[in-house]
Amino acid sequence: MSDRSNSKPETGAFFARDRAWHPPAFAPGYKTSVLRSPQRALLSLDGTISEITGPVFGHSILNELDNDLIHNFARPGESAIGERIIVHGRVLDERGRPVPSVLLEFWQANAGGRYRHKKETYLAAIDPNFGGCGRAITDDEGHYAFRTIRPGAYPWPNGVNDWRPAHIHFSVFGHGFAQRLITQMYFEGDPMIWKCPIVGTIPDKQAIEQLIAPLDWGNTIPMDARAYKFDIVLRGRRSTLFENRPEGN
């Protein structure tokens, strides 16, 4: 933990979530949300110790190939088929501070847009060497990275002819359970982004752009893999100017 090892863990409550920036629960263009969205108002609660604390995972849970989706399901000596890419970035909070030691989990379809899941019936083929899951823990500066293949677009039964853009799902822990976040990363320049009803649940164009990873030419490895950079911002904590009381705020 280098420069932060002697600093006290933060215990401030989190900034209130800007729910106009996030997608609303009810977004009828995404049909499944119609019956799965609460209709009553949420009950507001400024963070108590139940929300400002959260689980933290040690590196001991990680295997060597957890952040290498090209190989972590492949037979020995083989690898997944598709465009080899590196996805990397930082986890920051709204105050711009790195969020170290947090777990990220990723899942995605293969190069043809096919998920390895028993409920998936798309006719594109399964890749025998691709599972589609991976995970990483951020370092002291909040960095994470994984290798994978670029997922394909895939059709889904929403509208008559709806296709998801190429995307990678991200699950992110912070240091407090109130920071828990699941989102999706999209790829720079994909025209499918702007046709997608799930992307379209997000009301603000700038918020959508926050989910689009640019090609990171500088970090591309010649003759190996191109890189995309995807930074993630979790909720910030109030600096504990006047409320750092261990018995509770």
Binding site: Y30, R40, G47, T48, L92, R95
Partner: protein
């Protein structure tokens, strides 16, 4: 012009989708050999302090149908009311209790199940004690941003009566949506996403 506050915007949420199990519970999803076990599937061991309980239930949609593709996570204090988190400064939590669990709803009957212990009481912001509770977080296809709620214990009549969060629920008939049903050591907590019995969800 005044100074720019300089804060970043939180990354917007997106639905976990129907294949969330690939990433969060790959072994359940029949993707073996990548992780040894699914994270969060075991919360306790033989040495864990406290009363063993089972939390079970279903997530129901606005038509009353069970949601069979959700993933639930819970977060709770140990039996002494301490959280197993670096942000817990009141003392060291039971090292044999994770405090955190994760479980998919079954693809056949939609039931989830956690083996855990009954949590102790923890303080509200003003120092009053909250009633024992377990925080739930629910994600699924059709849920655009994870839903937070709390489960309380039906036998804790007195503690529930003085709980600051429960006290804040304006429509008193909705309190019941946060209180599990008890049968022996099994607590059943059905979560209604929408409709007449809609669970109270929290903006935390």
């Amino acid at each position: 012009m005044v100074q720019d506050l300089g804060y970043l915007k939180e990354t917007p949420s997106q639905t976990a989708g129907p294949y969330v199990h690939i990433g969060l519970t790959p072994n359940y999803s029949e993707i073996g050999g990548v992780y040894e076990t699914d994270l969060g599937s075991v919360m306790i061991n033989d040495k864990t302090l406290g009363e063993r309980i089972t939390l079970t239930g279903r997530v129901l949609d606005g038509a009353g149908a069970p949601v069979k593709d959700a993933v639930l996570e819970i977060w709770q204090a140990d039996s002494a009311g301490l959280y197993n988190s670096p942000s817990e400064l009141r003392g060291a939590a039971d090292p044999n209790f994770t405090g955190w669990g994760r479980c998919p709803t079954s693809s056949t009957d939609g039931v989830f199940r956690f083996g855990t212990i009954k949590p102790g009481r923890v303080p509200f912001k003003d120092g009053r004690k909250m009633a024992p509770h377990v925080t739930f977080w629910i994600v699924a296809r059709g849920i655009n941003i994870g839903l937070h709620t709390r489960m309380y214990f039906p036998e804790e009549t007195e503690a529930n009566a003085e709980d600051p969060l429960l006290a804040r629920i304006e429509h008193r008939d909705r309190l019941a949506t946060l209180i599990a049903a008890k049968e022996g050591s099994v607590y059943t907590f059905d979560i209604h996403l929408q409709g007449d019995k809609e669970t109270v969800f929290l903006d935390i």
